[in-house]
C-alpha cells in the first residue's frame, strides 16, 4: 500500500456522460458514464464483445462516439479538429498488435513523433528517445528494426513511442494479449513503473494479478454497459452484481 501513498489522485481529467456507439445496427456502447482522475490507474475488464476496447478507443476518437459527451482535460471531443488535435497530443495509446512502423528503426519509431509533430530538433528527439529506451529497458536495440525484436521488446518500444509525446494520459488496449507468457512480465513491469511515476492510465487487460497490484479502480464492462465499478479489493472480496461474480469465477 506504500507505493500508492506517493501519488496524489488529482482532479477529474476524463469525463464521459452517456456515451453510445453503434456499429451499423449493433450497439457497442449503451450509455457509458465514467470519470477518470489525474494520476489514477483505471483497469477496464469484462468478457469479449463487452465494449471495453471500443470505449477506450472513443477516448482519443479512433472511434467517434454517436451520442453523449466526452471531455478530456477540459476539451470536448467532437468534430472540431482543433479539439481532436489537442486531445490526441495529450493522450498516448498502446495497442494489442503493437502497430510499430516496420520500415523505421527502433530509434526512428520513437523520434518521428517529437520531430515531425512537436518540431523538436533531431538531436533533442534522439536524447529523449534514448532516455525512454533506457526506461523501458531496451537501450541496446536502438538501431535495430522492430521485426528483429521479440514481442515483449516490441511492446516496450510501443510504450516508449507513446511516452515520447509526453502525454498526460496513457491508454492501453490489451497490451499483453498478443504476447507469449514469458514476455508478459517484462511489459507489466514497465507499466507498473509507469503507474508508480504518477501517469494517468486506463488499461484494458486480463492480467488480474497486475491489475490488483497497480489499479486504483476497476470498471467491469458487460454488453456495452458499466456493470460495476470500485476498488480492486471491492471486486475481489465483495462483488455485488451477478454478472460480475460469474465473470470473476471464470477468470480467477
Amino acid at each position: 500500500m506504500q507505493k500508492k501513498a506517493k501519488k496524489e489522485i488529482g482532479k477529474e481529467i476524463i469525463t464521459t456522460t452517456d456515451v453510445t456507439k453503434f456499429f451499423g445496427n449493433f450497439q457497442a456502447l449503451k450509455g457509458i458514464s465514467a470519470k477518470v482522475y489525474e494520476q489514477e490507474v483505471v483497469v477496464v475488464f469484462g468478457p469479449s464483445g463487452s465494449g471495453k476496447s471500443t470505449f477506450i478507443r472513443t477516448l482519443n476518437r479512433l472511434e467517434p462516439h454517436d451520442s453523449g459527451t466526452i471531455i478530456v482535460d477540459g476539451v470536448e471531443l467532437n468534430d472540431d479538429v482543433k479539439n481532436l488535435q489537442y486531445v490526441r497530443s495529450n493522450v498516448g495509446m498502446v495497442f494489442q498488435q503493437f502497430n510499430l512502423f516496420p520500415h523505421l528503426s527502433v530509434l526512428r519509431n520513437i523520434t518521428l513523433g517529437p520531430q515531425k509533430v512537436k518540431g523538436l530538433k533531431r538531436s533533442e528527439a534522439e536524447d529523449i528517445a534514448m532516455d525512454l529506451l533506457k526506461r523501458v529497458g531496451i537501450p541496446e536495440q536502438a538501431h535495430k528494426f522492430p521485426s528483429q525484436l521479440s514481442g515483449g521488446q516490441q511492446q516496450r518500444l510501443a510504450i516508449a513511442r507513446a511516452l515520447a509525446m509526453q502525454p498526460k494520459i496513457m491508454l492501453f488496449d490489451e497490451p499483453t494479449s498478443a504476447l507469449d507468457p514469458e514476455m508478459i512480465k517484462e511489459v507489466l513491469e514497465v507499466m507498473t513503473e509507469l503507474a508508480e511515476s504518477g501517469m494517468t492510465m486506463i488499461c484494458v487487460t486480463h492480467e488480474m494479478g497486475f491489475a490488483r497490484e497497480v489499479a486504483d479502480r476497476f470498471l467491469f464492462f458487460d454488453e456495452g454497459l458499466i456493470v460495476e465499478e470500485g476498488t480492486p479489493e471491492h471486486f475481489f472480496t465483495n462483488p455485488q452484481e451477478e454478472r460480475t461474480k460469474l465473470f470473476l469465477s471464470q477468470i480467477l
Binding site: N60, L62, Q85, R88, S89, V91, G92, M93, F95, Q97, N99, L100, F101, P102, H103, L112, G113, K116, V117, F145, S147, Q148, R161, A162, M165
Partner: protein
Amino acid sequence: MHKIIKWSFETFFGSIFNTLITLISLVIFFFLINSIIGFIANSEWELVRVNRRLLLIGRMPPEHEWRIWPILWISSYLVFSSISAWASPSKKDLLLISIGIFIVCLIFTTSATFIFVISSLLICIVSYGISYFVCKNIHNNYYKKFLITSWILLLPIIFAILLLGDGPKPTLWGGFLLNIILACVAIGFGFPLGVLFAIGRASSLPAIKVTCTVYIETIRGAPLVAWLLLAWFVLPKFLPEFWGINNISVVIRAMIILSAFTSAYTAEVIRGGLQSIPKGQLEAADSLNFGFITKMLLIILPQAIRVVIPALISTFIGVFKDTSLVFILALTDLLQVGRIIPEQSPEFFGRQLEALCVVAFLFWIISISLSSLSKKVERSLGIGIR
C-alpha cells in the same frame, strides 16, 4: 570427373522417360543452333553499321549532333555515381555492367565518335570512383543529396542542351534518344501524379474520390495508340485557339499523353499497395497526432510503395516499351527506324531481321537494367526478409 559422368548418365538416360526427353531436347537444340548459325552466316550486319546514327538519334540534323555528347557525359556521371552511392554492386554486377557497356560501345562506336565514346567511358569510371571514395570516407549525406538534386534537374538540363541555341525542333528527335526521353518524362511525371491519384481514389471525400476514379477508368478504357491519335487529331478541334495551343509540338503532346497514361496505371498499382497497409498503422499514426501529409509521406507511402515495387517496375518497363507507339504521330522512334532502314536503300531490301535484332537488344538492355534495379532496391529495403 567420374562422378559427373555418372550423374549425367543417370539424369539423362536413367529411365525410358528421361531418355525420351533427352533425345527430343537434343533434336530441338541442334535445330536451333543450326538456324542461328545459318542466320549469322547469311546476315548483313553492314546495314546496322551504316545506320548506327539513325538508330540512336533518328533524324536529328548532323550539325546538332554535338549536343548528344554533353547529355551522354552528364547521364553517365549521374548513373555511375548513383550506382556507387546506393547500389553497392558486387564484383559480378560490375562485370555484367562492363560487358553490357562494352558490347553496346562495340556495336555503336564509329571512327568519328571514338573520342567521345572513350571520354564517356572515362567519365563512367571516374565518377564511380569519386562517388565510392566520397561515400566511404565522408559520413554526411551532402553528396547523396547533391546527386538526388541532380537527378531531379536532369530532365530540364537535357531539354536545355537540346533546345538552346536554336536547337533542332523536337519533332526531329528520334531513335533511341527519343524513346529514353519520352520514357523519362512519362515516368518522372506519371509516378508522382499516380501517387496523388491513388491517394485521391482512396479518399473519403466524394468529390475527390469521384474525380480520381473517373480519370483513372477513362484513361484505362482506351488503348494508348487511341489516346495518342486523340492528341494528334481531335485535340485541335476541341481546344480554342489561344496561347498557340494547337501549335504545341507533337512531342510535347506525346509526353503529356504518356504521362497521363503512366499516372493512371501507377495509381492503380499503388492503390493496391495502400490497401495492403494494416489499419493499425493508420491508428498508430493518428494516436501520435500525425498530420495527414506526415502520415502519408512518412508512414503509409513508404510501406505501400515497398510492397508493390515489382508491379511498379513492371509498369515502368511497359511504359518504356509503349513509347514506341509514338510512331503513330509520325515520330521516328527506335522501332520505327529499325523498320524503315531496310526500305531506305535497295541493297538492304528485305533485311528486316538484323535491324530489328539490334532494336530488340537495345530495348532489352534498358528493361534488364530496370529489373536489376528493382531487385537491388528490394534487397536493400529488405523486402521478403524483414
